[in-house]
């Protein structure tokens, strides 16, 4: 699925992982979060190898936001966010005032403080995703991995979530890696990009250097126009036609 990948996420970055379906984006995220082990090679977190750390140790430093969150049972938003405190609690420990404060701060940081006591399943798609991001923040991890966090959201919520991520990275210094199909989302918030195809990394670097028509064609077989948008100042990608090879 993923082969011969060498890459490094620096502190404070907001990296986008781009690539067509089946290119290995999700697998790469799983390798980075340690929920999947590489058959060869190593993943390091700082000085230590990820596979030598317990799940609990990893979770104290890396948090994951899944694409969708399906609940089998009903929980309130604050209960979901408090579950982020799991790696910091002992077997029989119950969340104390500090944990509750951290959870409330996480809700506030994602603009969902007013939803704290609402049942999660009654929230809109954008609200749910922001609460799930809050749960990841409550994990107090240095690194946040997000798997297509805006895939199931409409345009309004996409904008809401992407500006939240940008703000968290800029104001709270959270390091992030985001896999996405949305080139314009990546262009608008990511500092650097990792381009993948067929399980390999084909290009990495700062967004404005890597996001070129040539690379878009390489990834998706699509001819695209890439230019800097006048008002926002970031790049935009307009797909023109599919190249049938």
């Amino acid at each position: 699925m993923v082969d011969g990948v060498t890459l490094r996420l620096t502190d404070g970055t907001l990296a986008g992982i781009l690539g067509p379906n089946g290119s290995g984006k999700t697998t790469l995220l799983r390798l980075l979060s340690g929920t999947r082990r590489p058959s060869s090679g190593t993943v390091r977190l700082g000085a230590r190898r990820l596979d030598q750390l317990s799940r609990r140790d990893v979770a104290q430093q890396i948090a994951v936001v899944p694409q969708d969150t399906e609940l089998a049972f009903e929980y309130s938003a604050i209960e979901i966010v408090l579950m982020g405190r799991h790696p910091h609690l002992g077997l029989f420990t119950v969340e104390g005032p500090d944990d509750i404060r951290i959870a409330q701060e996480a809700l506030a940081a994602t603009g969902t403080a007013h939803l704290a006591d609402r049942p999660f399943h009654q929230l809109s798609g954008g609200e749910k995703q922001r609460v799930v991001i809050a749960a990841a923040l409550a994990q107090s991890a240095q690194l946040l991995l997000l798997d297509e966090p805006t895939a199931s959201l409409d345009l309004g919520y996409q904008l809401e979530v992407s500006s939240l991520l940008k703000r968290l990275n800029r104001d709270h210094g959270v390091t992030m890696a985001i896999s996405t199909h949305d080139l314009n989302l990546a262009a608008s918030i990511c500092r650097e990009l990792i381009l993948m195809r067929d399980g390999r990394v084909v290009a990495t670097g700062p967004t404005n250097e890597v996001l070129t028509p040539a690379n878009v064609r390489l990834l998706y077989d699509v001819e695209a126009d890439v230019h800097v948008h006048g008002e926002t100042g970031h790049m935009t990608v307009v797909p023109l036609r599919r190249i049938v090879s």
Binding site: R30, S33, T35, S54, R55, R56, V58, A59, Q60, I62, A63, V64, P66, T69, E70, L71, A72, F73, E74, Y75, S76, I78, E79, I80, L82, M83, G84, H86, P87, L89, L91, F92, V94, E95, G96, I100, Q139
Partner: protein, 333 residues
């Protein structure tokens, strides 16, 4: 917001209710007895009918009802979280069918191989449960990585129907008296007659409950899905193993003690969730307590509503539990 206080308050309220039920239940029955006489040590045991009714007929029955109810309700909660399916029951994974097959074989063969005073039927039933657990567990962990809850579910359901077929076969081959006994056993019966089967089941239940005590926050995370649980620091496969084995052990012990009493393992968890939410740190202990009280009350109804005829407790749990569940669903929406 204080989570510790909330857990203590809710679980405390359930405890008070359950203790009240457990104290009340043995004093009621088709024959009215005087508690003062029953506890009067100056009357010789042989002459003290009230004491005999209280200590031999009723108390073991209430105790076994409480243990069976607590175990089935807790097993239901744990398996529903493990399988992420609110419709799972302790009987979903084939454990009870294994237990039932064991009991059927013991009844049909007229086995009379008591062990340490425990009669052959509960022993055969528990053995059948253990065999079913081993088969399902082996199938679910035969894959390279971890424990597959999908395989767990499919293997359990398949084993359930396979064992049910064998049960029918064994029943068909047995004579009329044995068939009658077998059918009665399948309905669930808490009239254990003495304290020996209770004491025999206790160590297994204690083991299972000790594991349950460590599970609740992990169960919360398992209901969010394996990936989320792992990302939040849960050793998923290990947690799933403990959850499956403890819930299955509790189910096997409960079935060997009281037969496969239906509905407790699904209705009690749901009623509790409707009352207190989904946090397993509250749901699990509350279900243990409420499961005990619910089962004892159902059995109380079973031995009094048509007195002197005693109904099987399984009929009552279904008759009371079903409509109550529907009522709660309607009331909520």
């Amino acid at each position: 917001m204080n989570i510790r206080r909330r857990i203590a308050t809710v679980v405390g309220a359930f405890a008070i209710f359950t203790i009240a039920v457990l104290v009340f239940a043995p004093t009621v029955g088709s024959t009215s007895i005087s508690l003062r006489t029953a506890f009067d040590r100056s009357i010789a045991w042989d002459n003290n009918v009230d004491a005999q009714i209280f200590f031999v007929a009723r108390l073991p029955r209430v105790l076994s009802g409480a243990l069976v109810g607590a175990a089935l309700a807790a097993a239901g909660v744990v398996l529903q979280a493990l399988l992420r399916n609110p419709l799972a029951t302790p009987f979903t994974l084939g454990v009870s069918a294994g237990g039932a097959l064991g009991a059927m074989i013991a009844i049909s063969l007229g086995l009379d191989l008591g062990l340490l005073g425990v009669s052959s039927v509960p022993i055969a039933s528990f053995t059948g449960s253990l065999i079913a657990i081993a088969i399902v567990y082996a199938l679910a962990s035969s894959q390279k990585r971890g424990l597959s809850t999908n395989v767990l579910l499919l293997a359990g359901v398949t084993l359930n129907s396979f064992f049910s077929a064998l049960i029918l076969f064994v029943q068909y081959m047995s004579d009329f008296t044995q068939s009658f006994r077998a059918v009665r056993w399948m309905m669930g019966d808490l009239d254990v007659g003495n304290y020996v089967p209770i004491v025999a089941a206790l160590p297994f239940l204690v083991c299972a409950f000790a594991v349950f005590a460590a599970l609740p926050r992990t169960l919360n995370l398992l209901t969010m899905g394996e990936d989320v649980a792992a990302a939040r620091g849960v050793e998923v496969t290990r947690a799933q193993r403990w959850a499956f084995l403890s819930a299955s052990l509790a189910t096997g012990a409960a079935v060997s003690l009281g037969g496969p009493i239906g509905f407790i393992g699904i209705i009690v968890p749901h009623i509790v969730r409707l009352m207190v939410g989904s946090d397993h740190r509250i749901v699990l202990p509350a279900a243990v307590l409420f499961g005990a009280a619910f089962t004892v009350l159902c059995d109380l109804a079973a031995r009094t509503v048509m007195a002197p005829v005693e109904l099987p407790v399984g009929v009552i749990t279904a008759l009371i539990g079903g409509p109550f569940f529907l009522w709660l669903l309607v009331k909520r929406s």
